[in-house]
Structures are given as structure tokens and as C-alpha cells.
Symmetry: C2
Subunit: 102 residues, 2 copies
Amino acid sequence: MTNAVAAITALADPTRRKIFERIAAHPSAVGALADGLPVSRPAVSQHLRVLKDAGLVDDEAQGTRRIYRVRQEGLADVRAYLDQFWDQSLAAFRDLAESEDA
Amino acid sequence: MTNAVAAITALADPTRRKIFERIAAHPSAVGALADGLPVSRPAVSQHLRVLKDAGLVDDEAQGTRRIYRVRQEGLADVRAYLDQFWDQSLAAFRDLAESEDA
DNA sequence: GCTAACGGTAAGCCATGACGAACGCAGTCG
DNA sequence: CGACTGCGTTCGTCATGGCTTACCGTTAGC
């Protein structure tokens, strides 16, 4: 999927990965994430936007706060994307072995 | 694993992803990869180094050529890394549901 | 209504890293 | 032993993108 590519790109950044890890451990609001991270709140907000666009997280409004949580489908997409390479490379090995037998 | 992080970072680059896709479909040499890609051979060589350091590919010398192929363990590491988030987020949902019941 | 809390957005700065050109090294063939 | 092929490496350049500061919209409480 094209979303899997965006997800992988999103998770490539250390700070964004840290944010995602915290959300996975416990859904939380933007401010709570910014505390305990060495970056400003706007930076966290920007990262969350990228994660959301990649389909890795979802947000829910609770009063003035927005609670972010992991979106399982996003992880599933990445997994499917990787499995495709797994299958392809296995098939390539089989073809190679057959051609060598000949 | 710490290698999974390197692998994700490696796959975040479009060119590097393209190279990895081609290798998955068919193990090949550096020159063959450079042909059919809009970048120079040294660039491909650098990308291959990153992919190799990340544990995503392996190389085998064949005369003056080096054949690169997918390293399945690398993909497995990334998969395990993602599954960890999957499990964590599921557990977090359970805990949240329980606390709401009280 | 006013004020404060919580978040998203815009603009600008700066570090990271992807790229090509030039070079060096190993292996093959005559 | 030359000459050629196939790769890796270094270096300098330039674009991408992550960060902060300042600002604006929205919601809850008085």
C-alpha cells in the first residue's frame, strides 16, 4: 500500500518514533507527550500530523485536549508491505535454485 | 531490535526502497541496479552499504561483480519490532476499557 | 462576555543526508 | 605484465525536513 510507505517514512525519524512508542504504551494528549520529550509542543504537533497522515495514529477530541492513539490498521499495512518482499525474495531464491539445477 | 530501527530508517529513502524492491524481485549486481535507475552507480553503492549495515541485504562476490540479495532475518526483525507496538497498543486499550468500567 | 488552557499553523533557520565527479583497488583476460 | 571491468570511497554541493518562535482558533470555567 502507498500508506505503508508513508508509515515507514514517518517511523524513520527518532523523535517521531519516540512519540509513537509512548502512544502505543498509553494513549495521550499533545501536551503530555511534549513534557518528557526534549522538543517543543509545536514540534510534537507537527510529528503527530505526519503520523496521522501516515495512518499510524488517530485522534479524538476530549474538551480542549486531543487524545492520540495507535491505529492498528496502519501497522497492519506496513506488515503486509514487508511480507510482500518476504514472499518475493523467497520466490526469487526458488527460481535461482531451479536454473542452477539445469 | 536495534537493527529494526536501522532497517526502517534505510527503507525510508525512495531510491533505497526502489533498490531493495529490485533486489527482492531478483538478486543482482551493482551495475545492473544502476542501469534502470535515475542515479549514478556510486549512489547505488552507497545505498547498498546502508541496506547492508541495516541487515536488509547480503552480498556475495562473483568474480569482479558483487551479487546482492535480500536477507530474510532483516525483514523478520522489522516485523517483530512492529508487532511489539501492536501488542502494546492492544494492552493499552484493554487497560483503558477496564478503568472505564470501574 | 472575559480569561486561561490546549493545540494547530506559518515563517525562518540550520543540520542531515542524498547525489555526482574523481580517484583508488581488486579481479579477469590477452 | 598491461588493459579492462566492476565496485567501493572521498569530497564538495545542494535540497529535504525537523526545530523554534510567534501567532491564531477553539473550548471550558468564572
